[in-house]
Symmetry: C3
Subunit: 261 residues, 3 copies
């Protein structure tokens, strides 16, 4: 009775043929799927304010005060091509609620990881500019992003951008990390950049003690043919254990940037 | 020689550690894929009637009398999160044959099953309003839906809607079933509901003898800012065994509803 | 200790129950995923020529001379339904960089393989018309298609079309192959054909010696209500081994066709 790959006793002391990688290009190849499905019921309890939080003129319009919504219907495919390269495609099918041009496709990037100190990521993804872009897209910590995040997104500073980033740990313990990159800075799914100026950014993040992380960001960029601007921000996150299985996460950010619109 | 999970002999009489579920949130987790690909050749054999069944003026237009078509190219992802929760996303890529706004995404719902008597489903899906919405979307029993189904769909009574439904078996044998729910009633992939009135519906289904099912539906609702209307219907299905591997399925429905358009 | 399907010793000399296929409709059923992610940085080094290779008037426009781009973000699902039937759906999410109508869905076809001499493929796919459509879509041999390919594609001769093809080996060795078919000839994701005339084509391909393939194509067709036209082409490919792991692939094609636009 023999069961290859499960029950064999590996000789740890010698270099047997079975221990040698014969095809490096497919080593650690795998495919994984993830998704986020966010469906909700929204009601406005304020007179003359609709479900989107907007005032309306009751003489001209009746407004919608409650609605069922599909906010996000995301499917993510992550392919580990080998132990160094991976590819990631993320699509949000809830974007078909309006004109899907320049929408739907969120992530489309290839990542190369040399080691924990040096990773390169190229394609369309959220550059690591500010606290809300550090978290993976398939984790939802808050019901919605902050208003400032949407404002920075409209200006091409944040959210999904087409470009290139490098990032990794600075020290051996991994509690000081860097992120830097360059991107078009006119948001996702554009046929080309709208100008020659690229956005440049850098971020330094440190966790001096457990459960506390502080970060500093800075960037320059433009949107369309408007003048060049800049943006910067500082942020802090802390996690407080209330009990063994109950934790409080606090995140704060101060940010300032040129408004191109 | 040992093979965990395959060849072990489980002690059925005692509560061993191996029989205890240690992580309820991932118990019975699985991912499955399904699809429907419907491609066809359509020809009109009637003079001055085109492939869509529409008359045209031969003086003004020449009409198209035959065509290859991709009618449906659906991919469905179903995720069983644990033994109670599942998520379902279905997209129809054949909808790119025209403007895909408010199309493409068909299912996007989360289902909670307490037991066979109580299930809740929330998000975008076809509410169980009438005989043609009871069947899963990945089963095609007829070449096309009935004309009345498309008419009820345009009015927001049927087809994919955003809302919430509860359903289950009424009795222990499971031959009497209920379905009820609430939905926006202005079709799929809308950014919000177009009014405050929601559609309400209920359906009772019974199989008094084998191979016979009868159902009764009723609902109220609206489309846009128009007046509130209602819809009701009765239906019956029967399956007749012609031989051991050859069966005839007959389905009939009478339905009436307010036409908002 | 027993391990079904892995470690059993099959009796090769008798027809045991385990060797008999009990469910032909699911025999050799499988699902596979593939993808192409092509992300790039394009710069124009020529004055007054933008990233798309187009001249612009410097008095009226400033032009974009460099840009990060997501050119292709393709996901392919291939389902082998049994040992004869397979289905293929391919979507390119990079098409959301503009209006996605009549885009995004690339492949949507069902293939029936009787044997290596006879295969039928129906739905939307690239008919085997010319050298650049013979290669599978998930293999990129060149950074881009040739200009003539895009010109033939605009006229409905090549690229993704809705129709039907038959193909296979002519002789037992498989070094002479045929392809023939019929398709709408007005490109992909149309709601119907735009006229009654279908495109017809045939291709003969032969490999007289190893590493050399020659092919001949011919077709007739139309686009819209324009007059009927025709297209033909000859092509040759050769592979020269420079060293054991380094090969040079040369491909050449002469093609002529009616320009309907």
């Amino acid at each position: 009775c023999s069961l290859p790959a499960y029950a064999q006793q590996v000789d740890e002391t010698s270099l047997s043929a079975a221990d040698t990688i014969t095809n490096f290009s497919a080593y650690k190849r795998s495919l994984s799927f993830a998704g986020v499905l966010q469906t909700r019921y929204v009601a406005s309890l304020t007179r003359h304010v609709d479900v989107n939080g907007k005032h309306y003129d009751p003489a001209a319009d009746k407004g919608t005060h409650n609605s069922f919504l599909v906010k996000r219907a995301r499917i993510m495919v992550k392919a580990n091509i080998n132990d160094h390269f991976s590819a990631n495609i993320l699509a949000n099918f809830a974007d078909f609620s309006g004109n899907p041009a320049n929408k739907v496709l969120e992530n489309a990037f290839i990542k190369y990881s040399l080691n924990k100190h040096f990773n390169v990521q190229a394609g369309q993804f959220r550059p690591f500019m500010g606290i809300e872009d550090i978290m993976p897209v398939d984790i939802i910590r808050t019901v919605d992003f902050s208003n400032q995040y949407y404002a920075f997104g409209k200006n091409g500073w944040q959210s999904f951008q087409v470009g290139l980033s490098v990032f990794g740990d600075i020290n051996a313990q991994g509690n000081v990390r860097y992120y830097a990159g360059v991107y078009n800075g006119n948001n996702r799914n554009e046929s080309t950049d709208d100008d020659d100026t690229k956005n440049l950014y850098a971020r330094i993040e440190a966790s001096p003690v457990n459960d506390l992380t502080v970060g500093v960001n800075a960037g320059t960029g433009s949107l369309g043919r408007s003048a060049i601007g800049n943006a910067y921000g500082i942020d802090a996150s802390t996690r407080i254990s209330l009990s063994r299985k109950w934790k409080l996460l606090l995140m704060g950010e101060y940010k300032s940037g040129t408004n191109f619109i």
